[in-house]
């Protein structure tokens, strides 16, 4: 047995360096041109952190090395296969699933440290130091909530569980009860109670339960926020464990990931005009009752030929895609339609609302997959004033994010939500399966406007038909 191939100072400095790599890696995402390099930097940071850890192991016995290599091979293979197989529409599920892995490994590392505190130098006078104990307990709590919360989010996104919020009776009382169990067990442990292993187990299970209780009542519409929040939690769990293990890479990374998730949840909440607190409390995105008022105002319905005629005679067109487009797998046929229009010298751009997909930036990935160049795509704030000059706004698979009621009707549930002001365009072509309501369960005033033509049908079929009649 031989110890410490590298000194403690060198070890800490190299961990710091891998943290720097991660910072630069995220910084690379500020533009698509530098993003690929950024990803390689992040990978290098990870490789560095890994190598440093291997070089500073305490016990290089054969069995340990075999365990490490086996574990990484198994996990690496699963991860690689997952990353190749996943469809881009399923990215939210993928991120939720990966998040749950991160949360779970935080819990397991906390357990490992609890069971063999000597390995991590947490022992003082024969007991785990109380500061380390607090960190371990916090790590378990945050890690377990991340894990079980992400599993619920995954099940909801994957459609294995109803995406509507599940409202349990007395759910707040229940959550507070579980929290009380966690707190009192933690108190007992810190006071040096016997049978601390059982208490630790109870805390772990209660924390898992808390994660379930927190995410189950949140509806499908709020999932983008939930994923971002859980992302943030997984970062903080890593940071807390980093305190326990005295590892700079973990502390820095955890802080980065924590703040990234927090910022993304803030952006998502802003885009939906919902307060963070109301999202967390859940209940939004409920199925709409069937007793809604039947709308009787006239609607102008057009055919693919009508739409093709209007598009051909336009000089500028803005496409407004929503998640419905991705569900209908219409990206590619839409792109073909756009290409035809561009060949005719018509200016075509895309406008994307922050919550157009099922997670932050999702729609951009879906369009990138369909080979839409990223410099044709504009954010809400960049393009909103352009609608007034546009001849046609072509809305496909989006609904609530174009609803003018968000600006004019204080009683609307989406009042105050920033929208894409498509109604300012000369003509609005609105592709929709039927005259149903949107995800938030609200009627869209846009359908009944003079300048709106509804194109009823499947988004993919409709874009193909329009292409062929152009």
């Amino acid at each position: 047995m031989f110890n410490n191939l590298i000194s403690l100072d060198l070890e800490a400095s190299l961990y710091l360096l891998s943290g720097v790599f991660f910072i630069l890696g995220i910084r690379g995402l500020s533009s698509p041109e530098t993003a690929r390099l950024g990803n390689y930097l992040s990978m290098s940071g990870m490789a560095l952190a890994f190598s440093v850890t291997i070089l500073s192991l305490k016990d290089y016995s054969f069995i340990n090395l075999v365990l490490i290599i086996t574990g990484i091979s198994i996990g690496g293979t699963i991860g690689t296969v997952l990353s190749k197989k996943i469809a881009m529409t399923d990215m939210p599920q993928m991120v939720a699933a990966l998040n749950s892995m991160g949360g779970l490994s935080a819990v397991l590392v906390a357990w490992a440290a609890f069971l063999s505190p000597g390995a991590f130098e947490l022992v003082f006078n024969g007991y785990i130091k109380s500061s380390s104990m607090v960190e371990l307990l916090l790590g378990i709590l945050v890690g377990a909530v991340t894990f079980s919360g992400s599993v619920v989010a995954f099940l909801k996104l994957q459609g294995l569980m109803k995406s509507a919020p599940v409202i349990l009776p007395f759910r707040h009382v229940l959550s507070i009860g579980v929290l009380a169990v966690i707190l009192s067990c933690s108190y007992l442990m810190l006071m040096g109670a016997e049978s601390s292993q059982i208490l630790f187990l109870v805390i772990s299970i209660a924390s898992l339960l808390l994660g379930l209780l927190l995410i189950i009542p949140i509806g499908g519409a709020d999932m983008p926020v939930v994923i971002a929040v859980l992302n943030s939690y997984s970062g903080f769990a890593a940071a807390i464990i980093g305190f326990t293990l005295g590892n700079l890479a973990l502390v820095i990374t955890g802080a980065l990931v924590g703040s990234s998730g927090a910022i993304l949840s803030y952006i998502m909440c802003q885009a939906m005009n919902r307060s963070f607190f109301s999202v967390i409390m859940g209940g939004f995105g409920d199925e709409v009752s069937s007793s809604e008022i039947k709308e009787t105002r006239p609607v102008k319905v057009g055919s693919a030929d009508d739409a093709a005629f209007i598009l051909k005679n336009a000089s500028s067109v803005i496409i407004v895609p929503g998640y419905g487009m991705a569900v209908a797998r219409a990206q590619n046929s839409l792109k073909e339609m756009v290409d035809k229009l561009k060949e005719m010298g018509i200016k075509v751009t895309y406008a994307i609302h922050p919550v157009a997909g099922r997670m932050p930036g999702h729609m951009n990935v879906l369009l990138a997959e369909a080979d839409v160049p990223y410099d044709d795509i504009y954010e809400l704030s960049e393009i909103n004033s352009d609608f007034a000059q546009a001849d046609v706004a072509f809305v496909v698979g989006a609904n609530d994010v174009t609803n003018p009621a968000a600006k004019s009707d204080p009683n609307s549930p989406i009042f105050g939500m920033p929208i894409l002001e498509v109604e300012n365009a000369k003509t609005v072509l609105f592709v929709k399966r039927s005259l149903g309501i949107g995800y938030a369960g609200i009627d869209n005033d846009l359908f009944y406007r003079e300048n709106t033509m509804m194109l009823l049908g499947d988004a993919k079929k409709m874009s193909e038909d329009i292409s062929s009649s152009i």
């Binding site: 991660f22 910072i23 995402l29 500020s30 698509p32 993003a35 990803n39 992040s42 952190a49 192991l57 305490k58 016990d59 290089y60 340990n64 365990l67 490490i68 574990g71 996990g75 690496g76 699963i78 991860g79 690689t80 997952l82 990353s83 190749k84 990215m91 993928m94 990966l98 892995m101 991160g102 490994s105 590392v109 357990w111 490992a112 069971l115 063999s116 000597g118 992302n231 769990a237 980093g242 305190f243 293990l245 590892n247 973990l250 990374t253 955890g254 802080a255 980065l256 990931v257 924590g258 998730g261 993304l264 952006i267 922050p354 932050p360 930036g361 951009n364 160049p373 990223y374 954010e379």
Partner: protein, 105 residues
Amino acid sequence: MDISPLVYYGSIFILAIFIGYYVVWSVTPALHTPLMSVTNAISAVIIVGAIVAIGTDTSDSGISGLISKFVSFFALIFASINIFGGFLVTQRMLAMYKKKVKNDV
């Protein structure tokens, strides 16, 4: 150095949060999905904890040492899934982002 580790790591943590705040705001919204998958992958740097736990001689702490090793082996697997899956899916996404071809305009 007489300051406690908590204050030492705490200072770094707080500063890193500020760095994270400014760095993340500079990320273009078009890349928010890759941002999430890559932060996901790097948060799995917790793998170092699993490796430390495996690579320790736990023979003198008996059964709990054995369980500790067993548990950290699984932590290692899950963290590796997270790392490989996160980085590779990010790479796959970023490869799709293309600029406009010049003669296209």
